[in-house]
């Protein structure tokens, strides 16, 4: 029942997205634009500054994630469908999981585009350790999206949500940003620093466990009027 509801919410979002494509295209374009803006700051004499690639990918992904989070719930509010979702006789936490999966998928799509792009444009050995790289990105994305989905949902009834979401979200997810960036740059070194990357991955997993559990636990009371 729980998993089925979550998948139904995901399927619904996915169907809307397939029809309109508004979040998919806007988020991806925004992420690419962010990378281009970084190229002005972090390229000197035509050569990318060393050690900036990991930060560029992560910041672009997280900015795009913030945009997507705002949009996915804005759509629910616009159509007054969030009330219907919450009134339905389904466990609230399942609604949360469905929304979370949607955001994670969208952010993963952005990463699939951005990682090769940065690898090519900034001449980075992104795929020296593919398994670890995927694990770091996936865990980081889940951590960010877990907190982000909860706060975006909470902010629905607040008028100033567009500005409050990033204010609330970025400080809260700083451990994810730090661990993600440092874990990725450990993999980008000339000889990949595997123990370092493993260590940051462990921190990301710990963060994910704590915050996903906390979100599942607080989603119901937070969304109750």
């Amino acid at each position: 029942m729980f998993i089925r509801t979550a998948l139904l919410v995901l399927k619904k979002d996915f169907a809307i997205e397939l029809k309109t494509g508004e979040m998919f295209y806007t988020t991806l374009l925004f992420a690419v634009a962010t990378v281009m803006i970084f190229s002005f700051s972090f390229v000197k004499d035509g050569v990318p500054i060393e050690g900036t690639a990991a930060g560029i990918v992560w910041i672009a992904v997280l900015f795009a994630g913030n945009l997507a989070l705002g949009r996915t719930f804005e759509r629910e509010r616009y159509g007054e469908t969030i009330r219907a979702l919450l009134l339905s006789p389904a466990p609230r936490a399942a609604v949360y999981v469905g929304k979370l999966l949607g955001i994670v998928l969208l952010m993963v799509a952005a990463e699939v585009l951005l990682v090769p792009m940065v690898a090519v444009l900034f001449q980075q050995p992104m795929f020296a350790q593919p398994a670890l790289l995927i694990a770091v990105f996936l865990c980081g994305t889940i951590g960010f999206a877990a907190v982000g989905t909860l706060f975006a949902a909470m902010l629905l009834r607040v008028g100033t949500r567009a500005i409050l979401l990033p204010i609330v979200l970025y400080p809260m997810t700083v451990p994810v940003i730090i661990a993600g960036v440092l874990g990725t740059s450990a993999l980008l070194e000339e000889t990949p620093n595997i123990p370092m990357a493993r260590f940051w991955l462990a921190l990301l997993v710990a963060y994910d466990v704590v915050f996903v559990v906390l979100s599942l636990w607080t989603f119901e009371p937070l969304m109750t009027e």
Binding site: V147, T160, I167, P175, I178
Partner: protein, 223 residues
Amino acid sequence: MKKAFLPIAIVAAAMFAYAPIAIDNAPYQSTMLLIQKIFYFHVPSWVALTCALTVCGVASAIYLFKGSPEADRYAVAGAELTALFGLFGLASGMLWARKAWGIWWEWDARLTMAFMLELIFVGYLLVRKFGGPGAEKLAAGMGIFGAATAPFIYKSVDWWRTIHPKTSVVRTLDSPDNSPPMFHVLVFCMVAFVLLFLVLLSLRVRLEQQRAALDRLYLEEED
């Protein structure tokens, strides 16, 4: 808490009055000499912050699940005091860093994380101020999540190479070859800060109670 307020306030005031003398009497630390004295206010302010953070987190959870307005008052008070002691801790830390490391700020794990904790709670206060109706619930969520981030921040020093002293430095103060007065003075200051925290907390909670009472009276008058 009402009855204990006056004695706690008096003891806190007396301890703060005596604190400079105690700190002056403590022996010099071997490498940093006079500069190290800021330690006696820097560490206790983070201890007080931990208390404030705990109160905020626990009160937020109680408010969220039980809906008691009294818990919400404790949550606001805790969050404001977290921001206050965090600011004091950051300011005293920067002064110390300027003299000990030669720079005002260093982008290492603990400092960055502490700065972020401060931002979370400034954000909390912004949410309260600009969140409109229903902001209490939102703030409660932030309080719980902010308190949950704190352990990550506390452990960050041991996890990441850093120039900030490890948290175990406090225990070494008590070792026999180190002069015990240093440890005693530190504990003295910690107690003083925690008492100050209790005084401020009960004042802030009382303010919220009076506000709620005033609102109630207004509503009764209008009916």
